[in-house]
Amino acid sequence: MLQQWLRGLHGGLNHDFCPGMNRYVYWLKRPIGWVVLAFAMSLLLGIYVSHQAFLASGAIAAIGVLGCAWPWLSTLALRGEIHWGPNRCEEGDAIESTLTIVNRWPFPVWGLVVDVDSDLSSSAATQPLNISLSKIPALSRTSFRWHAAPKSRGVYPRRTPRLSTAFPFGIWSCHQPLEVRDPLIVWPRMTRLTDVPPNQGDRQLGIGGTTDRAGSDGDWIGVRPFRPGDRLRHVHWAQTARRDQLIVFEHQSLSKQTISIALDTNAAQAATPEQVDCMVRILASMATHFLAHAWEVRIALDGAWRPLLPHQKHAWLDELAQWQPSQDGLPSLSRRSASSMNRSSHASGWSMNITAQPALSMSSRQSIEAVDRVDWTWCVGEDTSRAHGEPIGRGFSMLSVSESLDATLPNVWRQVCAMTPTDSIRCAS
């Protein structure tokens, strides 16, 4: 009964009876509002009741003036600049942030707060907290360093960082914008994968993986008689001595295989931000993995195919860091990407699709299969019951946003690669 009565009292006391008036009286919720109100009331008391109240007016005015003038003066001569050690990192990487503040006052400034994005003020191990500076000595250049671990990709800071102080009384806060030397670009988290599918490439290129075709790179796969033009360092001297003719090693040759990775933009539009981030992470992980193994990688963002070049890694990762699904209506993105993939893919290339809608993925997969093949589809779902981090069918894997890709993706990928090339790659066709 008492609890109910108290609950009712609490509700009555906290009910907003005049929401329309809030814009005019919200300043009263701030400490400076209380100071102004108390000053006005004490002034009225002094005028109409007793002159002794002027004493309180004086004390309140002194606190108010000091509490407003001190922060204003303190921030007046402060100039700050913020920069990061390397200005590119992956999600979750600890990065050293350095704030340099120049105080040109001949007196120290105390009690400052650095107002930055919460991702830039917290490390992986700690909760977000305000970064505070206890003291800036007089006429000095002071550097503050802390480690931050931004948890999501993007370009930081997302809003202008500020240096603020309400010292000494906390009743009025003054700000000073901080300069940013170079923005911090946080790439999507790229999971380190170890396995690589067998190289079925038939393109003889100067760079790439090795195949067992005869060539002059990689390991030796056999011996043969010397032909004019062979290098003497390839001579197999033991066999030459045994056969009494020049025998040389037969080496592997280099070849390059193509993989096309499409990000289902249509699904990304309807997905949650966490799912989108996860899709981008898978795309970045796969792309970097295949590039590291000298595959020719092409990706499709917003329906347009483009090749990824190893020496342009920063450029396309910067783009992935900022990519957001377009809100423009695109016609049947899965079909569109598939058709474009069909037009541009090579006969020997692999193709992957990354989506966030299992149902759509299955249907689109069938439609895609009708026009072309998709070797593997990654689906990022929120439903943890269906996401085991394992391939749920040939050519299809379900991943969950609630689980770390670093833990699940390598296992799934290992299983994919363990399948025979015919089984794994041609299962969908």
Partner: protein
């Protein structure tokens, strides 16, 4: 680069105390409750009941807060719920307590109880106190704080008790402190470490601040020198206060110690002393005769004539009156033998007058324009009183002041100085004044016709035989600024041919430029002096620079000797002085006038008193002017202003106002001339300076070593501390910084290996001894074992000697 790593843990700790203990808002609520308690106490009929009730409530709240709130286990949900129930119940009981208390008093004890509004206020007080008692969150703290503020303001407005006013101050201070701690608590979790590099070296900053303060003091002192010296009303004995002060020098309460004319006349109140009743007051003529001696009788060349008795008598009378009226001054005198100090008859005081203001100062009484047959005369044809305007009455600071004359702004510093003369024993209608007097004031004299001008341009009181004794004459005078006269490109560079509306007529100027009759070729001599005076280009020099060259030469080479007068039969005193290069001040001044006039520059002889700062009486704040201070000097006429010059070397030169720009320019030119005239010395000084700068660290280290040699006489613990200090200063001298987080062992190991010649074993002993002195308990801090004694002495000695010897080595004394 000196860096310092700091983390202000101590400050956080000190500010955190109140938050951690959680008593801050409770203490504020207690103060607020006290204000309500004072209100209730004022109107209470049963004070003991009220005091007991308040004490019970306070003790209960404090106990609950300490036992239940601050020490409660927040993790236990059941305990927390039970606690919430209890606090709610006790809170309701406390809020109702004042009402219940009144009901008990009225029903059971028959008292009247408290007024209803006081009961309501007391209920609010209980609510605020209980809110502070159970406050654990930030919002509850703020709510309690606001309620406390309301109670205090309400109590202050409705009570007229003095205790209420005295309560506001600690409450305001404590509330401000609480606000500060709140803010600090909110940010202290995010404090991060910092590295700081000073933008300005501390030493440089200190020097700049000191230089700034010094400049400020100099600027203030130069503009308000009078106020600085007197500090009227600031020091207790400076007077001007409403209370009586025995030692006061001025103001309402003075006079106890300054008894009128007891020993010397310090005050000017009604005086009945016999000192002032039957004393003989000397005139200027008497003083000149006493100090300078009697004039040598002139051998007049009388023409053959018939003696008529009446005419001879008239001529004698005229001559005597002329001398006594200061219209003639013989430069050919015979000094008195023996004690020349003047003793006024009938008085113990020697003072002619007292002077208040900045000394030294030339106080002029009369001037002479014509030099004939060894005597200075005032020409009848020159009547400067006609040129001077009539005094105009002007009220300044509610006092009647007379504006006397206005000077050209180029030659006069606009800020005037104030002086006062208090005539004690002197008889003359003329007023003693500086050359450039602009205002005069005598208390309660508001008629301009009280003042007039003599024919030689001296301020006087007409129609009076003399200025009454004990008259205090206040004056404002301007200080000349002579920089324009030294500039070649300034229109005032010519003094010989002055013509403007403000200057004297040309025929009058011609009389002031008429050189005295003398056999010496003073013009050639003057030009020779100018050429040898270090003036860069004598032809391009301005007239004033020529005057300065002559004055400089006279001051440097002519010796002031009051007894070195020409023999009685000498006809040309100027030639005599130039040959002897010595003489009394009036002869040196005469020579200066002759030489300056020979260049065509208007000049005249002035006579009066020289106020000497040596006679300044600090207690009385005034300077006595004695008969011995009678002095003769010269004045140069420059564009409407008579500028005093001092050719006698033993007297200080007249003041001149110089701005810092003038000073810098003139100093620069003086340095340039000195370098030109003494190139060898200048080069040697420059080389020494450069070497000193280059070897500044070694020189400083040598000086340090010399100072620290004295530590050899100290006890060993002191020597160890001094050695550490010496090592620190040597680091400072060489600009070495101390790395952050360096331990004393690391620092000493490095320093001793660099700066001590003692073996490593001794270094280890020294480091251990230092660590013991720093960190050991006080009982063991200064204990030195026998086996350590020699090692410690060796290290101290070695550091000290290396400070002296390392700088002398050719190698750079640091690694």
């Amino acid at each position: 680069m000196a860096t310092s790593l700091r983390y202000d843990a101590y400050r956080q700790h000190s500010v955190r105390i109140m938050k951690q203990s959680g008593w801050g808002v409770f203490a504020l609520a207690l103060l607020a409750s006290l204000s309500v308690f004072l209100l209730r106490l004022q109107a209470s009929t049963d004070r003991i009941w009220l005091i007991a009730e308040s004490l019970v409530v306070v003790v209960l709240c404090a106990w609950v807060r300490w036992r239940w709130i601050l020490r409660a286990d927040q993790g236990d949900a059941t305990a927390t719920a039970r606690l919430r129930g209890w606090t709610m119940g006790i809170g309701v009981a406390l809020i109702l307590a004042p009402w219940l208390s009144r009901w008990v008093q009225t029903q059971w004890f028959g008292n009247m109880g408290e007024a209803t509004e006081l009961v309501w206020l007391a209920m609010l007080q209980m609510a605020a106190l209980w809110q502070a008692t159970v406050a654990t969150t930030s919002r509850q703290d703020w709510l309690s704080f606001l309620m406390s503020c309301f109670l205090v303001i309400f109590g202050l407005a409705t009570s007229d008790r003095a205790g209420m006013v005295q309560l506001v101050l600690p409450f305001a201070v404590f509330a401000a402190w609480w606000l500060m701690s709140r803010y600090w608590d909110s940010i202290e979790e995010g404090f991060i470490a910092s590295e700081s590099v000073p933008l300005v070296r501390v030493r440089l900053l200190v020097l700049m601040v000191l230089a700034g303060l010094g400049g400020l003091v100099v600027a203030i002192a130069s503009r308000n020198a009078g106020q600085i010296t007197s500090l009227s009303g600031f020091m207790p004995t400076s007077g001007g206060q409403s209370r009586g002060e025995s030692w006061a020098r001025q103001g309402i309460g003075d006079g106890d110690m300054l008894v009128a004319a007891k020993d010397e006349a310090y005050t000017f109140g009604p005086v009945d002393s016999e000192l002032f009743m039957d004393s003989e007051v000397p005139s200027m003529y008497d003083l000149v005769s006493e100090i300078y001696g009697d004039p040598v009788p002139r051998q007049r060349q009388y023409a053959r004539a018939i003696s008529l008795e009446n005419q001879v008598d008239e001529a004698k009378e005229e001559g005597s009156e002329s001398k006594k009226n200061s219209r003639e001054f013989s430069a050919h005198r015979r000094p008195k033998q023996g004690d020349t100090s003047f003793r006024p008859k009938g008085s113990d005081s020697k003072a002619v007058l007292y002077f208040v203001g900045n000394a030294p100062l030339h106080l002029r009484l009369e001037s002479f324009d014509r030099f004939e047959e060894g005597s200075w005369l005032q020409s009848d044809s020159l009547d400067l009183s006609r040129r001077a305007g009539e005094p105009v009455l002007q009220e300044l600071h509610l006092k009647p002041w007379m504006v006397l004359q206005v000077f050209p702004s180029e030659l006069i510093y606009p800020v005037r100085e104030r002086i006062a003369t208090k005539i004690i024993q002197f008889q003359s209608p003329r007023l003693l004044s500086p050359s450039s007097i602009s205002h005069v004031h005598i208390d309660r004299v508001d008629q301009p016709d009280f003042f007039g001008w003599t024919r030689d341009g001296q301020l006087m009181m007409p129609n009076r035989a003399h200025v009454p004794q004990l008259t205090v004459v206040h004056q404002l005078y301007a200080i000349p600024q002579l920089h324009p006269l030294r500039r070649n490109d300034h229109p005032m560079r010519h003094l010989a041919h002055q013509s403007s509306a403000h200057t004297l007529p040309s025929d009058w100027i011609a009389k002031y430029t008429q050189p005295p009759m003398t056999a010496a070729d003073v013009r050639a001599v003057a030009q020779g002096w100018i050429a040898n005076a270090g003036v860069a280009d004598p032809e391009a020099a301005t007239d004033w620079q020529r005057v300065e060259a002559i004055v400089r030469h006279l001051r440097a080479t002519f010796e002031h000797d009051p007894s070195a007068v020409p023999p009685d039969d000498a006809n040309d005193v100027i030639e005599h002085v130039m040959q002897q290069q010595r003489g009394p001040d009036y002869l040196i001044a005469t020579t200066a006038v002759a030489m300056i006039r020979s260049l065509g520059i208007p000049c005249r002889l002035a006579r009066g008193f020289m106020v000497s700062p040596d006679r300044y009486d600090r207690r009385a704040g005034q300077t006595a002017v004695l008969p011995e201070d009678i002095h003769t000097w010269a004045e140069v006429y420059a564009h409407g202003v008579w500028i005093p010059i001092e050719p006698t070397g033993t007297y200080p030169e007249p003041r001149e106002h110089r701005t810092w720009q003038h000073w810098a320019i003139e100093t620069g030119w003086a340095i340039r001339d000195a370098i030109r005239n003494h190139p060898g010395t200048a080069a040697a000084i420059a080389v020494c300076l450069m070497l000193s700068v280059y070897f500044r660290q070694r020189i400083a280290e040598l000086l340090l070593g010399g100072v620290f040699l004295a530590t050899c006489l100290m006890p060993l613990p002191w020597r160890i501390l001094a050695t550490i200090q010496l090592l620190r200063w040597r680091m400072w001298v060489w600009g070495e910084s101390l790395a952050p987080r360096t331990t004393i062992q690391e620092w000493l190991s490095t320093q001793l290996s660099l700066r001590s010649l003692a073996p490593d074993h001794d270094h280890g002993v020294f480091i251990r001894a230092v660590q013991r002195m720093r960190y050991a308990p006080s009982s063991r801090r200064h204990r030195i074992d026998e086996d350590e004694l020699h090692s410690l002495q060796r290290v101290c000695r070695s550091v000290c000697w290396s400070t002296l010897l390392r700088p002398l080595s050719l190698a750079r004394p640091r690694l």
